[in-house]
Symmetry: none
Subunit: 260 residues, 2 copies
């Protein structure tokens, strides 16, 4: 079941931390590691720190961007050193592990993201997440390093897996979220339709799109629900193009936004 | 309450591990550290690895033998990498933390012992313990290093303390869901816009609207988010009305059903 769960290290600066993370994961039988544009990898220091967990490094998936790393995921969680003021559910490590293991047991793919050492996940990375995870820690000294954060989370994932038999069967929502690919297709369609409708002020477009992304992330739409929303967006686009065609002389095909 | 709990490192070989343990403890607000005949202490490497938790090193109690380290303790737990065949209670980390915090809350002194890096606690040291603690781990790779073991146990102690005190941190996302009135206004607007766009097949309209309602309910939109969506719906309506005015009775879009 833990093979449905991947830990994704984003933009890791120090290769030693990648090795430490691999070791921490392996002690808890969490074996799928994805690296998003690590600064140095492969690297001798990573291998040295992995200390017997170098199979995780050899089997690691390395991607250029986060999008590719989570494209097939149904649930994306972002680890955060502190509670953040964003409109996302915020789990503690235990809750996150319980939710994730239940999802994995239902066949879903789950990713847990870890940001770069100095500053954690960027806002763009957080916007990809359905929920945040924090490790409760000393408010006066909360500086868990990357390896320690991975250790605690991997530990909770393993505990949740061991306890899984005791999980209430009804914890799973009665619905299967779409993959991130489908979800991003919806986001692209929102942007395109709003552009065609001329309600996307270029100065505020990033903020507005981030808001819509967070809103829709919370809902975790299924593929059917995404199709319903895209049907609405398509109809709105067509109406807008038709009304433009009638009034100006602009050809209908030219007033389209980014690729869907 | 955590001041009634001490972590006792026995015969630690590498001073760096003492520093790592101090750091791991401090992240979880476990602050009482006792060192039983450490090979090198104080030591620059310990201080370096403690990285801001050097106050724990400065305040550490150093003793020559275990007896002195636990003399005033009511409960002594021995950490062990694996289950041992001894006639002692064997807790996992979570159970040990719960028991310890309950004892500490009752005013008792509790010690958790960690053995030397290579071989763990000796039989003599185990004989001082009331119970053993193990961290559930991968049977094929259970080599948590000292710092990691301290990290996981300190984490569980802090979780037990937070649970005991009802001190779960406030995790309300920075987001206030709109009132039901506002929410129903959004639902009405969806229905109206889809009608104007001629994509609401009357036979399926109730089913489709129920689907949209469930989707949006899960997201619990705020009033700002509702305004964003209603802005989009208004723009779509206007475009549809304009295109109808300009031309004829051709439907603006295609009929979509839930299974498009």
């Amino acid at each position: 079941m833990l093979d449905h769960i991947r830990f994704v290290l984003c933009n890791t600066t120090h290769p030693g931390n990648i090795g430490a993370a691999a070791r921490a994961m392996k002690t808890m039988a969490v074996s799928r590691l994805t690296l998003v544009s690590p600064r140095h990898f492969p690297d001798a220091e990573a291998t040295a720190r992995a200390s017997g967990a170098d199979d995780l490094l050899q089997n690691a998936t390395v991607t250029d961007d986060l999008e590719a790393a989570v494209a097939d995921c149904h649930l994306v969680l972002g680890s955060s050193a502190r509670l953040r003021k964003v409109a996302l559910a915020q789990y503690n490590a235990r809750e996150a592990a319980e939710v994730s293991v239940a999802r994995a047991a239902a066949g879903q793919q789950v990713a847990v993201l870890f940001g770069t050492e100095r500053s954690g996940l960027s806002n763009d990375e957080i916007n990809r997440c359905h929920a945040l995870v924090h490790i409760p820690s000393n408010p006066d000294y909360s500086s868990l390093n990357l390896g320690s954060a991975v250790q605690v989370l991997a530990y909770e994932f393993q505990m949740a897996m061991l306890n899984q038999a005791g999980l209430e069967p009804n914890r799973m929502p009665d619905h299967v979220p779409a993959t991130q690919n489908q979800f991003q297709g919806l986001m692209g369609h929102f942007e395109q339709a709003m552009t065609v409708l001329k309600i996307l002020n270029p100065k505020q477009s990033a903020t507005l799109m981030a808001r819509i992304q967070r809103l829709m992330s919370r809902a975790e739409p299924s593929d059917v629900e995404i199709n319903i929303l895209r049907g609405l967006l398509s109809a709105a686009e067509k109406a807008a193009q038709k009304s433009t065609q009638k009034s100006d002389t602009t050809p209908a095909g030219e007033v389209v936004g980014p690729d869907r």
